[in-house]
């Protein structure tokens, strides 16, 4: 999924700056800041921004070491938000995620030590390496947007977004997330090796004396605030959607349930996710209405982790993406 020629063809927006236009400008500014540091991963950057605008969580799959931390750091800096990273390990405890209460000797009272989950952007690295218990605590935070420590609920500051990575290569010692829980993630991005030119740029940047992430993030300016993000999230919901597109989204998701070769299709939350993400995508691209193309584009990352294939297709080595591609090709798009 990459930028299509949507932008060139999409109609010029009205002359006076609409709230959509303002948001678009802002988000583009954020995007270009991030791209200063994160090179050659436009796809993932876009998906992360979409997920941020749609106030959802992002599940990233891909080989380790492709700058996921950098991505999260950059976003956090660009939106002047907090950032935390948790490396999930087999011995990670739920309280390492959420925090815990402890007894303070000085004034002999219980104090709360807030865990890394109290942040705006949380990078949960290799979640499938932690035992189910710790995963469950993270998933709960994601769902409830609040953390209960010693019976007292603590609300997490918004915006709150989790970027979780899964490790596909390592099977030994991983705990697969229960299928029902994968639904918690709005989008599923795959991170891939950068293409040759981007790699060149990265190498250049690093060899010109700037070693490590610090330089990369240093040059990012905070062009927005967390409040802006909340405002933009609100604006994103106001993007107009034609009725025919709702039924298109429903058709797509329903097709995923009846498609031959799919064992478990996506649930109705997928439909909601499709629309929400398409709206956010439009905002990112700079439009003020959703077109079928937006839905089509966002469908793969929205559906990929919500679909599982039947045994036959698994044996044949068919990928979920291929099947989604088929669905997109064959489910009637709204026209005329």
């Amino acid at each position: 999924m990459n930028e299509s020629n949507d932008q060139e063809i999409s109609p010029a927006t009205e002359p006076k700056p609409s709230p959509f236009q303002v948001c678009h400008n802002k988000i583009q500014a954020i995007r270009s800041q991030i791209k200063k540091a994160v090179i050659g991963q436009d796809n993932v950057v876009d998906l992360a921004l979409v997920s941020l605008l749609a106030s959802g969580h992002l599940l990233i799959e891909g080989v380790p070491g492709l700058g996921k931390t950098l991505l999260v750091k950059s976003i956090a800096k660009a939106i002047s938000g907090d950032f935390a990273r948790i490396q999930f390990t087999p011995d990670l405890m739920p309280s390492d995620v959420t925090g815990h209460a402890f007894f303070d000797q000085n004034d002999s009272s219980f104090k709360i030590r807030k865990g890394p989950a109290f942040t705006n952007l949380l990078l949960a690295d290799e979640i499938n390496r932690a035992p189910a218990k710790t995963q469950a605590s993270l998933l709960e935070v994601m769902q409830e947007q609040q953390i209960t420590i010693e019976g007292t609920p603590h609300i997490i500051d918004k915006p709150f977004m989790v970027l979780a990575t899964q490790n596909p290569l390592e099977q030994e010692g991983t705990y697969a997330l229960p299928e029902a829980e994968l639904d918690r993630f709005l989008l599923n991005a795959t991170i891939e090796y950068p293409d040759a030119s981007s790699e060149e740029a990265i190498v250049k940047m690093i060899t010109e004396g700037h070693v490590g992430d610090s330089f990369a993030t240093e040059q990012i300016e905070a062009v927005a605030s967390t409040k802006d993000i909340l405002a933009m999230q609100k604006v994103a919901t106001k993007i107009s959607v034609d009725d025919s597109l709702y039924s298109y989204a429903v058709r797509l998701v329903q097709a995923s349930r009846q498609w031959p070769g799919i064992r478990a299709g996506a649930g109705p939350r997928a439909t909601i996710a499709l629309i929400r993400c398409a709206k956010a995508l439009v905002l990112l691209r700079g439009g003020n209405f959703v077109t079928p193309d937006d839905i089509k584009q966002i469908a793969t990352p929205v559906l990929r982790h919500r679909i599982s294939l039947s045994a036959e297709l698994e044996i044949e080595g068919v990928k979920v993406t291929n099947v989604i591609h088929d669905i997109l090709e064959q489910v009637e798009a709204p026209r005329g």
Binding site: D6, T291, Q330, P334
Partner: protein, 517 residues
């Protein structure tokens, strides 16, 4: 000692779960129980062996028979442990010897074969009941009691005897006898013509199995008893209530005799009196049952175990005779088969064999291309097949068939526009264009194509009308999804130019290639 420190979790359980709790209790106290069992039996066993060296079986038989007696100290240990009292070894021995003589005769005669022996023991030993009192109490406890208790007796006996054999055979394996074929030995044992050595080993095996298992059996009975009391008498609640009472009484509570007092105090109240008639029957029935079971038990604790024998044979085929020996059995099998099967069956079998072989080969041949395909490209191939299958013949779900469109499209759409049905008007133009593109310009649109993708196809086909179509598409998209009405002027221009682009027949349109708007 503190009542709150009762060492087991009491609550009404199902019968087997109660026995399992007993197993846990026995695990906890196993060392002392095992030790006291050995202390009480080994001297007797050794003495008997010494007295009758030629009849070790009798020695072990006596020890076995006296089980109810030497199980009593074990029960003592358990009952004390329930309240975290750990009697010293000396106390056990002292108390134990006193206990041995309690109701001695019935215990080792008619009560010996009761299938609920370990369940009944606490009534006699801990509640100190005898005679009709005891019988009444037992009747009450047995009524609606689960079958698990006699089940346990049978299973534990089975395990004990299996273990006895296993231990014996295990020892036999290490003895340098030239013929250690245990089957022959078993025959010897049964026909009484074997060596005394075997009897001795058997006695030792049995003895070990007995002292090993006894704690579990006693504990299983005891905890079933406690469970039954929890169910029938809410013994678990009584403990809590007594504790509560003790907390609120000014004078200190007498903990010392707590077990006895709790155990004994309440048996009259167990069941409503109306049940008594039934219970008599139950009691009779139980007795009958016990007699039958005792017989079974008797048989089962004997040495003759045909069934287990067969299993062992099955399982022992090859760890010691590994597969290089197959040739031997091959011959054996062949000779067997020729004699055993009928001629028709054999023919039939032959046919089936061929069928099987052919099926196997066909299957492999059939699967080879699939495998190669899998290794080569894997994903795509199947996927393509799948999409080909799914590709529908009819083009769009939309109303794009030529005959369903009005004859004069431009006119029709203009009328619609004037009627303020703007969306329909532009929609008609757009749909008509698509329809023409499909039917006259041979554009291939998939079902899932959006307007933009259709446009791309048109542009790729380098049709002359693509600039016009692009304009139309944009106007349509703005209207349909952005809900932005094009100006009347725009619409009219689009409508007027429509026929220029689409109405000419295919041949003409080809000629028109290059004509720009």
């Amino acid at each position: 000692m503190d009542l709150s420190k009762i060492s087991i979790k009491l609550r009404p359980r199902n019968g087997y779960a109660a026995i399992d709790l007993g197993t846990r209790m026995a695990q906890k106290n196993w060392k002392s129980m095992f030790l006291s069992a050995v202390i009480f039996t080994l001297p007797l066993f050794a003495l008997l062996i010494f007295l009758m060296p030629n009849h070790p079986i009798w020695a072990i038989f006596v020890v076995w028979w006296l089980k109810p007696l030497w199980e009593r100290p074990l029960l003592l240990i358990l009952s004390q442990d329930v309240f975290h009292q750990r009697p010293t070894l000396k106390e056990i021995i002292l108390h134990g010897f006193k206990l041995l003589f309690k109701q001695l005769i019935p215990s080792i005669t008619w009560r010996r074969f009761s299938p609920t022996r370990s369940f009944d023991a606490p009534v006699m030993q801990l509640e100190n009941l005898s005679g009709s009192e005891r019988r009444e109490r037992l009747t009450a406890l047995h009524s609606r009691s689960p079958s698990s208790i006699s089940g346990m007796t049978i299973m534990m006996h089975l395990i004990e005897s299996l273990m006895a054999f296993a231990i014996m055979l295990f020892i036999l394996q290490f003895l340098p006898t030239d013929d250690i074929e245990w089957k022959i030995f078993l025959e010897n044992l049964v026909t009484n013509s074997g060596l005394h050595l075997y009897y001795l080993l058997f006695a030792i095996g049995w003895y070990l199995a007995m002292v090993l298992m006894a704690p579990f059996y006693v504990a299983g009975g005891f905890s079933s008893y406690l469970n039954q009391r929890s169910i029938r008498e809410a013994w678990d609640l009584e403990l809590v209530f007594r504790q509560l009472a003790a907390k609120h009484k000014s004078r200190s509570f007498d903990y010392k005799n707590i077990i006895v007092s709790i155990l004994v105090c309440s048996f009259i109240f167990i069941t409503p009196k109306t049940y008594s008639a039934d219970e008599q029957e139950i009691d009779l029935y139980a007795e009958q049952k016990s007699r039958v079971k005792a017989q079974i038990e008797n048989i089962q604790s004997g040495p003759d175990y045909k069934r287990t024998e067969t299993t062992t044979e099955l399982r022992r085929i090859n760890p010691l005779e590994p597969n290089s020996d197959e040739d031997e059995s091959e011959e054996a099998d062949e000779s067997k088969s020729s004699s055993s099967s009928s001629l028709i069956g054999k023919e039939f079998g032959r046919v089936l064999s061929w069928l099987f072989l052919i099926a196997l080969i066909v299957f492999i041949l059939f699967k080879i291309p699939a495998m190669i395909e899998y290794f080569q490209s894997g994903a795509r191939s199947k996927n393509e097949k799948l999409s080909n299958k799914k590709k529908p013949e009819q083009l769009f779900g939309l109303d794009l068939k030529l005959e369903n469109l009005p004859d004069d499209i431009v006119q029709e759409s203009k009328i619609l526009w004037q009627q303020s049905q703007h969306r329909e008007a532009l929609g008609l133009l757009y749909r008509a264009s698509l329809s023409k593109l499909i039917h006259q310009f041979d554009c291939e649109f998939e079902d899932g194509f959006t307007e933009l993708e259709c446009l791309i196809i048109v542009q790729q086909n380098q049709l002359s009308l693509s600039p016009y179509f692009s304009e139309l598409t944009q106007a349509w998209r703005l209207l349909a999804y952005g809900h932005k009405l094009p100006s009347e002027q725009t619409f009219l221009t689009l409508a007027d130019h429509w026929s220029n682009n689409f109405v000419p027949e295919t041949s003409e349109s080809n000629k028109q290639r290059g004509v720009d708007e």
